[in-house]
Amino acid sequence: MAANIYIGEISENEAVQDNCFLMKIKVAPSFQNPLPGQFVMIRIAGLNDPFLSRPISIYSFSRNENYCVIELLYQVVGKGTRIMAGLIEDSQVEINGPLGNGFDTLSVKENIVMIAGGIGIAPLSMLTENLRRTHPLSNMMIYNGFQNASAVVGLDNMRRLCRNISVCTDDGTMGEKGFVTQIFQKDIKQYVPENTSIYACGPGAMLKSLAKILNKSKFSAQVSLEERMACGVGACMGCAVAIRDKDCTLAFKRVCADGPVFNLRDIIWE
């Protein structure tokens, strides 16, 4: 079974803070178990405005005999997500997924570091849940950054999953003051590249600054990118990201089908 189109029924769609919502969607049990880092394209059936489906990473997934529940933790950023936020229980949505390549969870080292910026916490939560199960003996440290205290999202769940949590905000209204990459950089000496797996998701500026910090060192990191998408399945070539290819030449890779998880070192930022 691969990705396919499902009619989903919303069982919950609650505001978790001013601008972020948690949507739970029931789909048929044939929905393939997603990997952490994979996403779905979500669309309100028959609606031509907004015209395109919205790519949202999977926050959590569970199943029973009768149905699967896909959980999406999403931020309202524009027309599409605003309409999503207005959907009530029992509304139907079209779900195409699971799509993309998840994080590599096979070659996990004994120290795991996660760096989450804002709503970027969503795919990392699912990854944390997964790695807790598959790598119970690894040490895990999670750095979470938010704009301010009222923008904090998904943190309770992260705390439930992991004891070692660092929280910071840009303005210092919660946790340490500073960008999450700065807080991580202060700790970097604690980690050894050879036995540390780093995973990150967040705004472009955060990942770019993480690249500046890590690309001087031997650390490698898997990062999940976001980009505007039309198809989500690799056909339209719309969600291009500049990547340093095997022979060091520039290539435009598709965030949907070649990603959304990339090796941070391969991303060309300028």
Binding site: I5, D49, L52, A230, C231, A235, C236, M237, F252
Partner: protein
């Protein structure tokens, strides 16, 4: 449901539009390719093309803008890596081809003609997003004719010429490529458009302009197909904003022998199959036995 476009026979009139269906395999998990009239693959050039820098797409009301810039793996990689997969299907495979020069069109056409499993060539003289070639071949009747002749001289396959709507008189271009030997004419490619980001006051697309597609352009496409059909005698394929069977039937009633479904695939990967089913239902409801009995039945 079978239709004949001259020598090109299709199981049904529903094709995919180039650039919206990858090389077929991207949608093979969603759509049984055997059920399609034809798969038209992403535009192929002589050498692989990098495409334009991102951002490349922007949603618009009832559609989208794109400036992909014909990113593709090149004709040779297509023949080696993608064509074997498509050969397994009992569906016509149509290679959309693009060149920056007449010579490139010639070489791409030749390579595809020698490869087994390609049923027709669709000549792209209408891409608005590339600096060289593309629409510049499609806006001048003489140049359009010369590209058509160049490709015709290299291939025994049926040659479809895909027209740009970004011209004053599309029927004039159609007549010109027909005279030059085009076996089939397909239209329309995207309409050039743009979109401004009010936060930055910059264009949403790095390329500044892009091609508008989606249901917003259907009325323009219908008008142009109608204009072309009145002036040429070769079969015409209707393209532009088709989302539903009703949309497709509008083109068929005007006289298009087939249609290509494009942007609809992005929002509904089953769009092609939904259109085929919808056409069958319409024919059954109206007690029409043969799809050909509805083609060209437009009254005015």
């Amino acid at each position: 449901m079978a239709v004949k476009l001259g020598r090109l026979k299709l199981n049904n009139p529903v094709m995919t539009a180039s650039g919206t269906f990858g090389y077929g395999e991207e949608y093979a998990g969603y759509v049984d390719l055997n059920r399609l009239g034809a798969v038209v693959v992403k535009g192929l050039s002589l050498k692989p093309r990098l495409g334009n820098p991102p951002p490349r797409i922007m949603e618009t009301t009832g559609g989208m803008l794109n400036s992909i810039g014909l990113q593709n793996i090149g004709v040779e990689a297509f023949i080696e890596e993608k064509l074997p997969f498509l050969r397994k299907y009992d569906t016509a495979v149509i290679a959309n081809i693009y060149g920056e020069t007449y010579d490139e069109f010639k070489k791409v056409a030749k390579k595809l003609s020698l490869a087994k499993g390609v049923h027709a060539l669709e000549v792209n003289i209408s891409c608005p997003n590339v600096k060289k070639g593309g629409a510049s071949f499609g806006t001048d009747p003489k140049i359009a004719a010369r590209v058509t002749r160049t490709v015709k001289d290299e291939t025994g396959l049926p040659v479809i010429v895909k027209l740009t709507p970004n011209v004053t008189d599309i029927a004039q271009i159609a007549e010109s490529v027909e005279k030059a030997g085009a076996d089939i004419i397909s239209l329309i490619n995207t309409l050039t458009g743009m979109s401004v980001d009010l936060n930055t006051r910059c264009p949403h697309l790095k390329n500044i302009t892009g091609g508008l597609s989606g249901p917003a352009i259907k009325p323009v496409a219908l008008r142009m197909v109608w204009q072309v059909i009145q002036r040429v005698s070769v079969p015409v394929i209707g393209i532009g904003g088709i989302m539903t069977a009703e949309d497709a039937l509008e083109f068929l009633v005007l006289g298009a022998k087939a249609v290509e479904i494009g942007t609809a695939n992005f929002v509904n990967p089953h769009a092609t199959l939904d259109v085929i089913e919808g056409i069958k239902n319409y024919l059954a409801d109206h007690k029409i036995k043969d799809i050909n009995d509805i083609i060209g039945t437009f009254r005015n």
